[in-house]
Symmetry: C2
Subunit: 81 residues, 2 copies
C-alpha cells in the first residue's frame, strides 16, 4: 500500500532541483508522489497552507511538511498567483 | 546500482522527524542512505560543510545538499562539538 506524498513547488530553479533530486528519490513502492505547481494551480495554495507549508519547494509526507532549501515563501507565491 | 545519500543531523527534534519521515522514505533500490550524527561524529563536519550543508537536518544526494526544515545551523553544531 502506498502513502501519499505531495511535492509543492512554484517552478523556481531551487524547486526544479529539489523535484529532480529529492521528490523523485522517494521509494515508489511506498509513496505515491503528486507534483503540484502552485503557480499553475493556485487553487491548491490553501491546501498547502493548511498542511503547514510556509515556503516552496516543500514535500508533505503523511501530513508532515518538509521544507527543502528555499525557493520562495508561500506569501510570495500567493501574491504572484 | 545504488547511489550514495547522506543524512546529516544533530539529534534535534526537527532532525529526528526528518530522518523518520524523509531519510527513510528514499527508494532503497536506488539509494544507500548513511545517517551521520554530527554531534557524535564532529570529524564529519568538514565533509558536510564541503558538500554545502549550512544547517541540519540536511540530505546530500549525489553531491547536492537539500536542507530540510531547520533544526540548527552548522555553526551552532560546530560550536557545540
Amino acid at each position: 500500500m502506498t502513502q501519499k506524498a505531495t511535492f509543492y513547488h512554484a517552478g523556481c530553479p531551487v524547486c526544479v532541483s529539489a523535484e529532480q533530486g529529492l521528490a523523485h528519490a522517494l521509494n515508489p513502492a511506498a509513496y505515491n508522489v503528486e507534483i503540484v505547481h502552485l503557480g499553475e494551480a493556485p487553487n491548491r495554495i490553501a491546501e498547502a497552507e493548511a498542511a503547514g507549508v510556509k515556503s516552496v519547494p516543500a514535500l508533505v509526507i503523511e501530513g508532515q511538511p518538509y521544507h527543502i532549501n528555499f525557493g520562495a515563501s508561500l506569501a510570495d507565491v500567493k501574491s504572484a498567483a
